[in-house]
């Protein structure tokens, strides 16, 4: 798998703390932030390959981050994490262009597999664009 730039956003610090080394070990470059506004700053600053974001947070929520990330670059794939996996939230996020969903608590392997699928899609997109 190619080296990817990944932004991880969750207001529960433990989530970023677990994800960073798990993805870092695969060789990816991982930034971790704990608030939506900080995430948006980072997104404005650079284009990420993948954004992994919690869906419900205080202040700027995951839906807003999803919108901003997709607006910044349509190539960026957004994976949503949620503690309350409701059908409605899932439907809305997917309509807004989220790549996929993961419900907390999740296995690191599930996330890795989703990241791998996202990586394949990125490679296909890039190949199609030549």
């Amino acid at each position: 798998m190619a080296k990817l730039s990944i932004l991880v956003l969750d207001d529960e610090a433990i989530v970023g703390k677990r994800i960073r080394p798990a993805l870092g070990k695969l060789g990816h470059e991982v930034d971790v932030v704990a608030s939506g506004s900080e995430a948006i700053q980072r997104i404005e600053g650079r284009v990420y390959d993948i954004v992994v974001s919690d869906i419900r947070m205080e202040g700027v929520d995951g839906m807003e981050v999803l919108r901003r990330a997709r607006a910044r670059s349509a190539r960026t794939l957004v994976i949503m994490i949620t503690g309350f996996a409701t059908v409605d939230a899932a439907r809305e996020a997917l309509t807004l262009g989220a790549f996929d969903f993961i419900a907390k608590p999740f296995k690191l392997d599930d996330l890795r597999a989703t990241i791998a699928r996202a990586a394949r899609k990125l490679a296909e997109t890039d190949a199609a664009r030549g």
Partner: protein, 847 residues
């Protein structure tokens, strides 16, 4: 008397049977769900999952909802006999929620607890430092000096006795308002506090026990505050008093208590976000008459990329000034790899030696070069010290900062251990993924991860569990079975790999307790691991590399992956240790009483047992036959078994509508009962002819079921997924409680076997045979004299049914061999025969 009257007052009319059984079934379902939740959290603890505070809060809330319902259902079945459990559950719930909120609830407890009785679940009572020390001693079996901790409960009593609560509130208010030395008054009052007389007695008693261990006694009296050492501990916030004579211990104790409200301590607590109101336990540890002491870092904190080296600082005499940085030390650089080579040694430029004074206290001498030709530690002592240190590091999954001391006899003691802060994120290997590609993979996702983590060592293949004692420290243990017997070696092994086994099994749970990276069920692939071969086990990724993968090992020690030390993980671990330990094991013992319940697990175990007992007694006392729903099972086996169906256990058509008519085995629909029945009726297992030829044999089989008294006690309570089977077969009493469904998480078997009417020696021999068979069938088994208890949990449906069939066969088989327990040899031969499938025994042919 009052209680008795209250109970009578509280009694109500017994429930109608229909409602009673509905409550019973509800109790069973809730019991199953709680066990499922226990298992779920234990699994989360293994490190495979990412969870957050929401999960932990939801988990606790759900558990206590269910436990509350279980207690309610039990009491409605048992006519409020166990009403005292309501208050207990409320207290346990409050304690758990206190943990969640980071506000420790201090339970009523002993004033003093010996180090060896301490584990992490008691952290609210003994503080983090003592809890960690207790774990090192009892779990890792590493020597620490003898001692005890004066609990936070004692501290609260001191506050109450001296009416200090308001003084403290006022002091904190002033401090928060920015007034320095706001708490001077609190410190003074604590220094002068009157200690309750029962507390003084408890301390003297604890002392007395240490004095009996010999030699004039001096103590190190150290703070062990709640929250201290938990995270980025700024050590030394609170006071330590060294070389304390027994008569001065009360003053030293008060001195340590007073340091809780020093200006420094308050500033520190505010800085790290701990509540300003502190909670102090005090550790009293025998002073090691140290000839040398010092510190050990399991990694060079300034050059963590050099994972090959440990640093040992050493000084002659006591280490107090050296540890505080007031005195220079000698330095050893030592290889991390066993055998630990001394790579370099630099003698101490200082000639100062700190020693204890006979009159108490310490003083500094100049050593006049008397020790110039000796080193502080011999190579052998270095070996031992490094081995202890790495064991602690493995357990903590983090580089360690350890204080040690050596006495003149050469014994080494660990005085304290905490995480070593390696603040060099830049030192992380940048191209780990690329580096890993250079190492040959021996096992690539061959098995199932039972406990995550990374470890390195040499392969040691275990053929026989008797070899466990000789296992070299730091070995990668490769075995056929994931047997719980491996527990004895767990403090010493680096990693475990097994051919068969389950990540939800008993050994896997133990591995997680000891935090040993473990991969189970690797099958024939384990043959690729050659004895003596150096390997690196990456149980995070389910991989085993050939050789020592330094980049990975370094990654484990310094990377930000010490999730075990994150707040959520610690809270979950603490809650698990508070909620899930099972102390009430043997229902036959006197200790099996409501007031002996300590944990939520105890409560549900107790409630389950008592509810079943109520249901069984109900039928015995009422003469069974008259009761609606208790029906005789009409079969070839002359069991006289009565059946109560509490929902879906019998086929309504085949069983017919007449409530008192016998039913045939064909009508059984209960999954676990059907499996048991298949086992019981396996050809040869329940031979209806007298077995063997001896008179005793004949009598044994004749007595086994024709006793009319026992007939009423053979009872099965069934539902579609559940059975509780009680069999009294004249010679022994057997109970099987099992739940079987398609989803494995709820599946469980509980089996109990206890011997009856023969001499103890035979009963024990019989129990040993049963234990041996169950052990070989991969049950988690415990034996206490003639009592055997076995469990199997969370196995897939087919495997659960297989084990139930085996239990059915075993029940029949033990009945046959009941009186034939003349020697150990014979008993072991029965074990082999049973496992070969030869159920019809003929002892005369065997001899």
């Amino acid at each position: 008397m009052t209680l008795f009257r209250w109970l009578r007052f509280g009694k109500r009319e017994p429930l109608p049977f229909k409602l009673l059984f509905a409550r019973f079934r509800q109790l069973l379902d809730n019991n199953t769900e709680v066990l499922e939740l226990f298992a779920d959290a234990a699994e989360k603890q293994g490190g495979e999952y990412v969870f957050d505070r929401t999960y932990v809060t939801g988990w606790v809330t759900r558990i206590f909802d269910l436990v509350g319902k279980i207690v309610y259902d039990l009491n409605s079945i048992a006519n409020q006999k166990y009403a005292s459990l309501y208050a207990l559950v409320d207290r346990l719930r409050a304690e758990a929620h206190g943990d969640l909120a980071g506000q420790p609830v201090v339970p009523q407890a002993d004033f003093c607890i010996g180090f060896h009785q301490i584990d992490e679940s008691q952290v609210n009572l003994v503080g983090s430092k003592s809890a960690h020390l207790g774990e090192i001693a009892s779990r890792l079996q590493i020597p620490i000096p003898p001692g005890f901790t004066i609990t936070t409960y004692a501290y609260l009593r001191v506050l109450a006795e001296n009416k200090l609560d308001k003084v403290i509130d006022r002091g904190i208010e002033l401090f928060a308002a920015g007034q320095r030395s706001a708490c001077e008054e609190v410190c003074r009052r604590l220094r002068e506090a009157r200690l309750p007389s029962d507390l003084c007695r408890a301390i003297k008693r604890a002392f007395g026990q240490m004095e009996r261990q010999g030699k004039p006694l001096y103590l190190a009296v150290r703070s062990s505050a709640f929250g201290e050492d938990d995270d980025l501990s700024l050590a030394g916030q609170y006071c330590t008093v060294l070389q304390v004579k027994p008569e001065d211990v009360f003053d030293a104790y008060r001195e340590v208590l007073a340091s809780l409200y020093s200006n420094d301590a308050l500033t520190y607590r505010r800085a790290v976000g701990l509540p300003l109101r502190g909670l102090m336990a005090v550790a009293c540890m025998r002073m090691v008459p140290a000839e040398a002491s010092g510190v050990l870092y399991t990694l060079d904190p300034n050059r963590p990329e050099g994972v090959g080296k440990m640093l040992v600082g050493a000084t002659w005499g006591l280490g107090s000034r050296a540890v505080a940085g007031e005195q220079s030390m000698a330095f050893f650089e030592i290889s991390r790899e066993s055998p630990h080579q001394i790579l370099s040694y630099r003698p101490s430029p200082s000639a100062e030696v700190v020693v204890g004074r006979e009159a108490g206290g310490i003083r500094t001498l100049t050593s006049e070069g008397a020790q110039a030709d000796r080193r502080e530690l011999s190579p052998e002592q270095i070996q031992r010290l490094c081995e202890y240190a790495l064991r602690i590091e493995h357990y903590s999954r983090q580089a360690q900062d350890i204080e040690w001391a050596r006495d003149p006899e050469g014994s080494l003691y660990i005085l304290q251990a905490r995480g070593l802060q390696v603040r060099q994120p830049a030192a992380l290997p940048t191209n780990l993924a690329a580096q890993l590609g250079h190492y040959p993979l021996l096992l690539d996702h061959c098995g199932l991860v039972a406990c995550r983590g990374i470890a390195h060592g040499r392969v040691c293949r275990l053929r026989d569990e008797r070899e466990l004692a000789d296992l070299p420290s730091g070995a990668v243990l490769v075995t056929r079975r994931a047997s719980p017997h491996l527990a004895s070696a767990m403090p010493r092994v680096a990693a475990i790999i097994t051919e068969v086994g389950s990540p939800t099994g008993h050994m896997a749970a133990l591995a997680r307790e000891f935090r040993i990276p473990t991969i189970v069920d690797c099958g024939a692939a384990v043959a690729r691991l050659r004895p003596g071969q150096e390997v690196t086990v990456d149980a995070d990724e389910n991989l085993v590399y050939e050789g020592r993968v330094d980049a990975l090992l370094q990654y484990q020690l310094v990377a930000e992956n010490g999730f075990e030390d994150s707040a959520e993980y610690r809270v979950l671990r603490r809650l698990l240790r508070r909620i899930t330990p099972l102390g009430l094991i043997d229902p036959q013992s006197d200790a099996f009483r409501a007031e002996r319940c300590r944990t939520a697990h105890d409560v549900i175990r107790f409630a389950h047992e008592k509810a079943v007992e109520e249901i069984i007694n109900l039928n015995v006392t009422s003469g069974v036959v008259g009761i609606e729903g208790a029906r005789l099972l009409d079969s070839e086996l002359p069991l006289g078994l009565r059946i109560i169906d509490i929902g879906g256990g019998l086929d309504p058509v085949l069983a017919g509508v007449s409530p008192n008519a016998p039913v045939t085995p064909q009508a059984l629909r209960s999954l676990p009962m059907c499996a048991l029945w298949q086992g019981l009726t396996t050809p040869g297992v329940w031979s209806t002819r007298p077995v063997g030829v001896g008179f005793r044999t004949f009598m044994a089989s004749a007595m086994s079921w024709h006793s009319s008294e026992s007939a009423g006690r053979n009872l099965a309570v069934l539902s579609d997924a559940y059975v509780n089977l009680s069999l009294n077969l004249g010679y022994h009493y057997t109970m099987v409680d099992a739940y079987v469904a398609d989803a494995r998480s709820a599946n469980q078997i509980y089996f109990r076997f206890v011997g009856g009417a023969s001499d103890l020696e035979r009963r024990v021999r019989r129990a040993t045979m049963v234990r041996e068979i169950l052990d070989r069938l991969d049950f988690a088994v415990r034996q206490s004299r003639d009592l055997v208890i076995a469990n199997a949990r969370r196995l897939p449906r087919e495997q659960t049914e297989d084990r139930l069939r085996a239990l059915g066969r075993l029940i029949g088989f033990t009945r046959q061999v009941d009186a034939l327990m003349d020697s150990e040899d014979l008993a072991m031969r029965y074990v082999e025969a049973f496992l070969r499938g030869e159920y019809t025994v003929d002892p005369d042919k065997g001899d």
